[in-house]
């Protein structure tokens, strides 16, 4: 039950109980009072009745005495003058209204009687006892069915010679008069105990109308055999009547007070429950997350205290909520948004624009509304830029994490301080940042990206130490139906594109997308392939063109794809390069190749293997250590290992690449430049590279077939290589004629389908049988390498 109802009902019940108790007590008291009162009145009535009878008696006595003492009457008595006596009796009786006047002898024989049925000679028992003392009870006599109050006196002449009995008839009128004199209001009945019917009653039928009476019985002595009993009654109902009025008044007061109290109780309860409901609503608001609305309940009582407490709590919750929000959505290091917040901002921005197709101006003041023309829907394009720091790990490792953090903070500050404030700026993870902005037109995308790059790429100064910053920026424009995730992904792909293109900035174009899904699945498959041996080493032999002797083999990867069949590197290497998976593949390849070479070496059939190294691999600072470790583990002479490098590896950071080459060279492995002639490397660079050979790209060799003028180019290339002291390898030899030509041009080594396609191990062994080989004398070298626990996982950035 609601609190209000419970309070009100409880108090009403209490009041009701109290009133009921009071009413009951009053009723009981009234009842007993009424009864007591009735009985008292009955007593008074009885007293009055008795006094009336007494006064009747006195009257009768006086009258009787008057006639008894009359000389003339005594004379008549002595003379036994019956007639005179009778008339005298009648006269005296008439004086007082006595219905019965009888003169009897001392024996009770009637001598004369007035007006009654008694005739001389009859017996009159009433005269046996005569009135003497005044204290005697009124004498009653039942005579012929009627009651008389009788008094007897003696007639003295001078001694008693006769008696006179005089009596009032107690008939109905007398009874009624008596009854009214007593003031009881109840019926008076007089009956002889021998009979049930009253001889006289103020009620015509002599019955008591109700049982609700108090009754007083008076026994009046009788001159006879019966007792005469007078019954006075007092209606209790009448006696209770005034008290009943009191009770009714109480009931009325009680009812009114119940009503009034009910109203008051409800009002007071509402006064309590109303604020409680307000407080409850506030609690609901707080629970729903709305911490802003103030409670605004100021009362001096306990509810006010509760309200104040609630308000404090609300504020505390609000503060906590804010700090939680901050933790949830803020990047603690930089103060920018974190990935979650940025995603949210992106989504809400997209909702405002792209999805709905209609852009509402964020601010609309009242006065502009009058002048507003309905504007055509007009989209301001949303742009997302992902910014990846280059070589951040290097900063961390070489300069320390404190410096690295400071760098990140610097970039964050630059983002925050951009001239064109973006909608959102976030640090997604590690060294990745993202910016969301609203452009005026779509064409602004590239300039905006360039401006970003400009603002961010300036060198940073940490602890007064200048640090060069370079970053890759990928831009994507929100199109219709572009979700937030898709947009970020597009920007990411743009970054990859930029990386691949070795440019700092790239814009996402739709063509990039479709392969993405494929590529992602391909990546998973590639991992799987690596882990489950679907990747295999194929070997393409290299022969000395002059002698035809086998001098080595190039190690090529093949992927035995379960559904696509045997895949050539071109199908997956670029992808591996993009996804950074290449390093792992290279490591795998190196390990297998070195292992295989070591096996041949130990078996006494050493064969130099050449492994392709990508640009990514060169940036791996641990490459030399890894190779050193592998050589040591497998005990392969370093001279038996050749690393074929592409020129693209030198574009990015030539110095670093050169350093790595030097390190590799000191290991003793041979280095080779692959796809020579197709890259962009400068000749000076080529001179500085500690390589032993160059490989002329197959396109040159194939061109040699068709275009005789190409001959000069090839010759120049071969000569240059020789002039630099490098061995020259031609790959892609398919015809004997081109082989002949190359030999004529003094190319050292050839490789191609003319001799053998890339072969799996077993087939290579087969192919090698009976072929002359270039003798190799080399010794394994052990390198001391620290434990390379390589925990870097190659994930896409």
């Amino acid at each position: 039950m609601a609190l209000r109802t419970r309070i009100a009902v409880t108090f009403l019940l209490l009041l009701g109980a109290v009133l009921a108790a009071a009413l009951t007590a009053v009723s009981i008291a009234n009842r007993s009072n009424a009864e007591r009162e009735a009985r008292r009145q009955l007593e008074v009535g009885a007293l009055v009745f008795t006094r009336l009878l007494d006064s009747n008696q006195r009257l009768l006595t006086q009258a009787a005495r008057a006639v008894a003492d009359d000389y003339g009457f005594r004379e008549a008595v002595a003379a036994r003058d019956t007639a005179t006596l009778a008339s005298a009796l009648e006269n005296s009786g008439a004086r007082i209204g006595a219905a019965l006047v009888v003169l009897t002898s001392l024996d009770g024989e009637v001598l004369a009687a007035s007006g009654s049925h008694l005739s001389p000679g009859a017996r009159f028992p009433g005269a046996i006892r005569h009135t003497h003392a005044s204290e005697q009870a009124p004498q009653m006599m039942v005579e012929d069915g009627r009651i008389y109050q009788v008094v007897t006196v003696a007639v003295r002449s001078p001694l008693p010679v006769a008696r006179i009995s005089m009596g009032f008839a107690l008939d109905e009128s007398a009874a009624r008069e008596l009854s009214s004199l007593t003031g009881l209001g109840g019926p008076l009945s007089v009956r002889a105990t021998s009979g049930w019917q009253p001889l006289v009653s103020t009620r015509p039928n002599g019955e008591s109308a109700s049982t609700d009476v108090a009754v007083r019985r008076l026994t009046l002595s009788d001159i006879g055999h019966d007792e005469v009993v007078a019954t006075l009654s007092r209606s209790l109902a009448d006696a209770r009547a005034p008290f009943a009025r009191l009770t009714n008044t109480l009931i009325l007061i009680g009812s009114l007070s119940m009503v009034g109290f009910a109203w008051a109780a409800f009002w007071i309860a509402r006064n309590i429950t109303q604020p409680l409901q307000d407080l409850t609503r506030s609690v609901d608001r707080i629970r729903a997350g709305d911490y802003e609305v103030a409670l605004a309940m100021h009362r001096p009582d306990e509810l006010g205290v509760l309200a104040d407490g609630l308000e404090h709590m609300q504020r505390a919750v609000q503060l906590r909520d804010r700090s939680i929000r901050r933790l949830a959505y803020e990047d603690t290091l930089t103060g920018l948004m974190n990935r979650t917040a940025f995603g949210g901002a992106l989504e809400s921005a997209l909702e405002r624009t792209g999805r709905t197709g209609r852009h509402e101006r964020p601010e609309r003041t009242g006065r502009d509304e009058r002048h507003e023309r309905p504007e055509p829907p007009h989209e301001r394009p949303l742009a997302v830029a992902r910014i990846n720091l280059d070589r951040f790990r290097r900063i961390n490792e070489h300069l320390g994490y404190a410096v690295g953090d400071e760098v990140l903070r610097t970039i964050a500050e630059r983002l925050k301080g951009l001239a064109a404030a973006p909608l959102a700026a976030a640090r997604l993870a590690g060294d990745q940042f993202a910016v969301l902005a609203e452009l005026e037109v779509a064409a602004d995308l590239a300039p905006w990206g360039a401006a970003l790059l400009d603002a961010l790429a300036a060198p940073a100064s940490v602890d007064s130490q200048p640090i060069d910053l370079s970053m890759t920026v990928g831009l994507a424009l929100a199109a219709k139906d572009t979700g937030a995730d898709a947009l970020l992904q597009r920007a990411d792909l743009a970054v990859e594109r930029a990386r691949r293109a070795k440019r700092p900035l790239a814009i996402y174009e739709d063509g990039l997308a479709p392969a993405a899904r494929d590529q992602l699945s391909l990546l998973g498959e590639l991992r799987h392939a690596l882990e489950h041996g679907e990747l295999q080493l194929y070997f393409q032999p290299k022969l000395e063109l002059a002698t035809g002797r086998v001098c080595g083999a190039e190690v090529l990867l093949r992927w035995q794809h379960p559904t696509r069949g045997l895949l050539a590197p071109a199908a997956f290497i670029p992808f591996a390069e993009q996804t950074g998976f290449l390093r792992r593949m290279t490591r795998w390849t190196l390990e297998r190749a070195i292992g295989q070479a070591a096996q041949w070496y130990r078996a006494g059939r050493p064969l130099a293997l050449a492994v392709n190294i990508g640009a990514d691999d060169l940036t791996d600072e641990r490459l030399d250590s890894r190779i050193a470790q592998l050589l040591t583990v497998h005990q392969l002479p370093p001279a038996l290992l050749t690393l074929e490098l592409t020129e693209s590896g030198f574009i990015d950071d030539a110095e670093r690449a050169l350093r790595m080459l030097d390190a590799l060279r000191t290991l003793g492995v041979k280095l080779s430049i692959d796809d020579f002639g197709t890259g962009y490397s400068s000749l000076s660079l080529l001179a500085r590279m500690p390589v032993q050979e160059v490989k002329i790209d197959r396109s040159f060799v194939q061109a040699l077939e068709s275009d005789p003028e190409f001959l000069a180019v090839v010759r120049s290339a071969i000569d240059m290589g020789h002039n630099l002291g490098l061995a020259v390898v031609a790959e892609g030899i398919e015809t004997a004629s081109s082989a002949e030509r190359l030999r004529a041009l003094h190319c050292d080594v050839g490789q191609g389908y003319l001799y053998a396609q890339p072969l799996p191990l077993a087939e290579l062994d087969q192919w090698l049988l009976g072929r002359e080989r270039v003798p190799v004398i080399a010794v394994p070298v052990s390198f001391r390498v620290e434990d390379l626990g390589d925990t870097v996982s190659l994930a896409t950035y």
Binding site: P158, L159, P160, V161
Partner: protein, 215 residues
């Protein structure tokens, strides 16, 4: 019935003795009859009237019979009087207030209207029997007059004794007292020359409503 006052009793006694002395001539041959009246308990009964009616010969005639019953202090004095038939009784009123003396007794019915001092006439009691006198005004005034035909009667003294001198012969004994209830006495006696003792035992009912009947 009320006791006779002492004074009334003495007067009655003197009156009885006086009457007796008037009858003196027949002294020779008068035998005393000693009467003793006692209650059952042995107490003397004063005021008892004893009447001896001669049976042998008629009684001698009365000589100048006269009696007086006075009214003093609202009392008849003497209360009880016995007289010979034909006696005239004077009823003087010695009180300051007037009395009306009456009697409804059949033996003598008379009414002396209110008077003081001496009445106009004497009342002659000429019939034997009991006459009860009363005063009309005063209910308590009662006197008894017993009218007899014999000179031989007396009232027992306070000591319960009475001596009557009667000639020898047979006599009827009559007893009366206003409160007489029962008596044990011979109905007849025979008087000889010797003194006759006549013990009488009786009981009185002082509460009786009516007076004892005249024998």
């Amino acid at each position: 019935m009320r006791r006779a006052t002492l004074r009334g009793a003495r007067i009655a006694l003197l009156g009885a003795l006086g009457l007796h002395s008037m009858l003196a001539p027949a002294a020779a041959g008068a035998t005393p009859v000693s009467i003793t009246a006692r209650t059952v308990a042995g107490l003397p009964v004063a005021g008892l009237i004893v009447i001896l009616d001669p049976l042998d010969a008629p009684p001698p005639p009365a000589v100048h019979p006269h009696a007086v019953i006075d009214q003093v202090h609202k009392h008849f004095v003497p209360r009880v009087t016995v007289v010979r038939t034909g006696t005239a009784i004077t009823l003087p009123n010695s009180d300051q207030i007037r009395h009306q003396v009456y009697s409804f007794s059949p033996a003598k019915t008379f009414n002396l209207k209110l008077y003081a001092g001496s009445p106009a006439v004497d009342v002659v009691f000429d019939k034997p029997g009991l006459v009860v006198l009363g005063c009309n005004i005063h209910d308590t005034m009662v006197a008894f007059v017993g009218v007899v035909d014999t000179p031989f009667f007396g009232t027992v003294s306070d000591s319960g004794e009475l001596t009557l001198e009667v000639p020898a012969g047979r006599y009827r004994v009559r007893l009366w007292h206003p409160a007489l209830s029962a008596a044990t006495a011979p109905a007849e006696i025979t008087v000889s020359a010797q003194t006759l003792s006549l013990p009488i035992t009786l009981s009185l009912d002082t509460e009786r409503e009516t007076v004892a009947p005249w024998p």
